[in-house]
Each structure stands twice: as C-alpha cells, then as structure tokens.
C-alpha cells in the first residue's frame, strides 16, 4: 500500500483502494494505458471471496462484449465472475494464475491481474467509479 491509497475500515475488515485505477460496480478495477485495458478484482472482492483455488481465463484472441462474464474465480468458499469492462479482443491473460491462483489474494492490484483487453472503441472513463466513489460504495455497503 502506498501513502496515497485509500484504506476503508469497516466492522468486517480493511480494504485497500488504489489510486490511479478505475472501479466497477461489480468490484473489478481497470487500468487504461496506451489504449489497452488491464482488468483485475479489488482487494475488497478478494477478501470477500477468500482464498482462491481456481481461475478460469479466456483464450487470448477471444472477442468479448462489455458486461460479459470472461473470468471465473473459485475460492474455498464460493464462485464469482469477473466481467469485461469493454468490448474488444483479449490480448493476454495472466497465465501465472493457473498454478498460483492465490496471487490474486496476495497482490490483487499487481501480480494478481486477470486479463488485458484491446478495446474496439476508446474507453469511456465516465462509466466507471473513481477510487473515492468506490470507497464510498464499500463504506455504505458494510457500514
């Protein structure tokens, strides 16, 4: 955690929200750089899911639609999907996750990234939540 990140504390836990990223209502983060979108799940999401034992990723080259489930994450406790933030083509997936899916627990904003997508159209950043807005959402949800 760096000094400028946001730490949300609730009665159930503490969650890091990184600045410089955008967030979704379904607890993913995205980073847009050189017109490539990197997708991952948030610290809050990995803490709710608990220890992840299995990740199912799309094939590179797959065409995906915005809002479509593209990754399945399975923890000791439950199963969750991650959704594509945009329409486009899957450029790369994090193959490290096949052998060490718990990288998502250990480093959700770094080594635990999921997929990189080349969007069909430039990403409309206004459709996503800012770090502050996402922090507020968690605070509201968990009190």
């Amino acid at each position: 955690m760096s000094a400028e990140d946001i730490l949300v504390k609730t009665k159930l836990g503490e969650y890091i929200i990184k600045r410089g990223l955008l967030y979704t209502e379904s607890d993913e983060w995205i980073k847009v750089q050189n017109n490539i979108v990197t997708l991952g799940i948030t610290d809050y999401a990995q803490k709710k899911l608990k220890y992840i034992v299995n990740v199912e990723l799309p094939e590179p080259g797959t065409t995906v639609n915005a809002g479509e489930s593209i990754v399945t994450l399975e923890s000791v406790k439950s199963v969750a999907d991650a959704y594509s933030p945009c329409s486009g083509e899957v450029l790369e997936v994090n193959e490290e996750l096949y052998d060490t899916p718990d990288l998502i627990n250990k480093d959700p904003y770094g080594a635990g990234w999921l997929v990189k997508i080349k969007p069909t159209e430039p990403v409309d950043k206004g459709r996503f939540l800012s770090p502050e807005a996402y922090a507020e959402k968690i605070r509201k949800k968990e009190g």
Binding site: K11, G13, K50, Y51, V53, N54, T72, V76, S78, V79
Partner: protein, 369 residues
C-alpha cells in the same frame, strides 16, 4: 425476521493473528488466516488452534436430567456418567426429522452442559424447554454462549500445546472424556475435553477448552505462541468433510431423517421411549429412497462441487451434492451428497455437474481419508 449478527468474544484476538473475517450462521468470526489449505494440513500433520465460540453453550439444570434427555435424544444415555461427553446425539421431531445434532456433557446428576450448532442456539433452547414443560420436568436452560469461549486445539502435536498451557493432566483424557474446572494458565476454566470435529480427535489428538472470555484470549495467544497455527472455519469445513461429518442445515436438517443420512454414530435403535422413535422405526422398517454418500473427483479437476449440483448417471439425475471442498490431504475436490438408494454404487463411477460441465466422480463411503 430480524437478523442479528453476533461477534465471537475472541474477535480482537483473532484479528491480531491476521484473521480474515466473515460471517457464519449470524456470527462474525475468522474464516481463515490467509491460507486455509495450509491450516488444514497443519491440523492433520502438526497442530492448530480454532476459536469455535460461535457454537451455542447451555448449562442445563434439573432433578431428572438423565430421564428427561433419555426421552429427548436418539442416543442411549444409560452408560453416560460424570466427566463424560455423549454425542453427537440427535434432537428429532415427531416425524424423525433432524432438529440438531448436539454434544452433551455430564457435569453432575443435576447439571449438564450442551454444545449446540450456531444456527440453532435459540431454537434448541426453546425445543428443550417445550418438551420439559410438556413432560412435566422442572428444567432450566442457561445460555452461556456470549459469556464464555470455546477453543479447539487439534492435531498430532496437541498434547505439547496442553503442556505449555499447564494442563498436563488433560493429555491422558480418553475420547469424549473431560476434566471439570481445570487450571489453565493458572486460572480456573470451565472444562477441557478430548473432542473436536476435525477428525483429529479420533485420528491423533483433539482437545477443546471451555473457559471465560478473559482466559480464552490468553489460551488462544498462548497456544499460538507454543506453536499451534491459528485456523478458521474454512479449514474446519474441509476437515470435517474428509471425515464425512455432516453439517446441520447443509447436509442434514428438517428435510432429512437420520437413516437416509446414515448418521449411525448418533443412533441407538435398541433404545426405547424417545421422541421421534415411532417414525424412526417405521422409516427403518420401510426403508429410504436415498442415502448420504461421499465422493471424490479426479486429480487435476480444479472445480469444487457445490451445494445443489446434480449427481448423474448417463444424464439422468440420481442425486444432489450437499457439500464440497478441495481436500488438501487427497489433493483433489471432494464432496458429500444424497444418491438414490437404487443407485448406491459405492466404489463405482457417476458424474457430477459443476456449473454446466460434467466431471467423473467416484462414490465412496466415509471417511474419505
């Protein structure tokens, strides 16, 4: 219905050791401490410490406790005596459906203790009082759940942890035996028993310490300092699944009877005069349509079977999964469920549908390890 959440009295202590907090049966408690698979393995190979204070605890007092419980529960208590636990015993309704599986502790002729499942703390208490009233027994039930703690120390190295807690005399307890008012870390605890629900209580060593909140905090910390790895409810779940122990509300409950659940360790059919007996004998005679079984998937299958998944033979549904987990001991996914009595292919293959994909599974008896 009003939903209330309670916190384990040890929550602050658990947090100190990096507990990942979650909710189970209305309780806020530790799900894991970072890696539940390692916690599972440490329980089997070394020793772990669990806070299980979310389990309900009652002190039950009255003049005819033996007579009353002999009528209320499935298991024959005629050999039950002071300093011993009996259980799991079942509370059945008149239709022989399962209300709960509980543990009884014989403190004295006029005082027993019961440990019940977290979702049923209020329900069981009301059930006990209802039948006491109906049958004319003068019995009181004091709920001591929130004012006490229950800590389980499980695994082959558990005796060493007891030594460091200063309760050497407890090391030689036999299974389901307990010591009353032992001195733990120099303070008087309620009891220490040779028990648990991980399987290690029978495979190697398992102890449970019931004590005050203050002493519980010290016991948990001292156990960790002495080398017990903190473990949470996720590891507890995969451990009990390997043993084939059912979970109330998930694998058994008011839609199941103990015969189809094959809950033999909680039954004594020789016994007469208990609640649900008539229905139970009728079921026993007429037979059942399904049985609870265990199963394992092939190595390399990463998906975990979940409650509600179908068990199939040539695309025909012949059963349902009730619980599943990844078994670190076997290195594969395992599960528990009910299969039609006509297809009780123990040792043979079926398929389990997990999220639309079919996986080969081998039907097995309990335990899986």
């Amino acid at each position: 219905m009003l939903k209330t959440t309670r916190e384990t009295p040890l929550l602050k202590t658990l947090r100190k050791y990096g507990a990942s907090i979650g909710e189970f049966a209305g309780w806020i408690t530790a799900m894991d401490y970072g890696n539940p698979l390692e916690e599972h393995i440490a329980t089997r190979n070394s020793v772990t410490v669990f806070d299980v204070s979310h389990m309900g605890r009652y002190l039950i007092r009255g003049d005819n406790l033996f007579e009353f419980f002999q009528k209320l529960v499935t298991k024959d208590l005629s050999k039950f005596k002071e300093g011993r636990m009996s259980g799991p015993v079942l509370l059945l309704n008149e239709d022989a459906r399962i209300i709960d599986d509980i543990m009884l502790y014989y403190l004295s002729d006029t005082e027993w203790l019961a440990v019940v499942n977290a979702p049923n703390i209020e329900k069981d208490r009301a059930w006990i009082l209802k039948w006491a009233k109906k049958w004319g027994y003068n019995i009181t039930v004091e709920d001591i759940t929130l004012s006490t703690t229950l800590i389980a120390i499980q695994g082959p190295h558990a005796p060493e942890i007891l030594e460091s807690l200063g309760v050497n005399e407890a090391k030689n307890l036999s299974i389901l035996e307990f010591l009353r008012n032992p001195s733990v870390l120099g303070e008087e605890a309620i009891l220490i028993s040779r028990s648990g629900w991980t399987g290690e209580e029978v495979r190697s060593y398992g102890y449970e310490i019931m004590t005050t909140v203050k002493n519980g905090e010290r016991v948990f910390e001292a156990a960790v300092e002495a080398g017990a790895k903190p473990a949470g409810l996720i590891a507890r779940d995969s451990l009990r699944l390997e043993m084939g122990y059912p979970l109330i509300g998930v694998d058994i409950g008011n839609n199941t009877n103990p015969i189809e659940a094959r809950y033999w360790m909680a039954l004594s059919l020789k016994k007469e005069g208990f609640l649900g007996e008539e229905a139970l004998r009728r079921i026993y005679e007429e037979g059942v349509r399904r049985f609870r079984v265990a199963f394992k998937l092939k190595k390399g299958v990463r998906r975990i079977p979940r409650h509600g998944n179908s068990i199939l033979i040539n695309n025909r549904i012949v059963g349902r999964v009730t619980s599943g987990a990844y078994s670190p001991t076997l290195g594969r996914s395992i599960g528990m469920g009910y299969i039609e009595a006509t297809h009780l292919y123990i040792g043979f293959k079926v398929a389990v549908d997990i999220r639309g994909k079919s996986y080969e599974a081998k039907i097995l008896d309990f335990p899986l390890i």
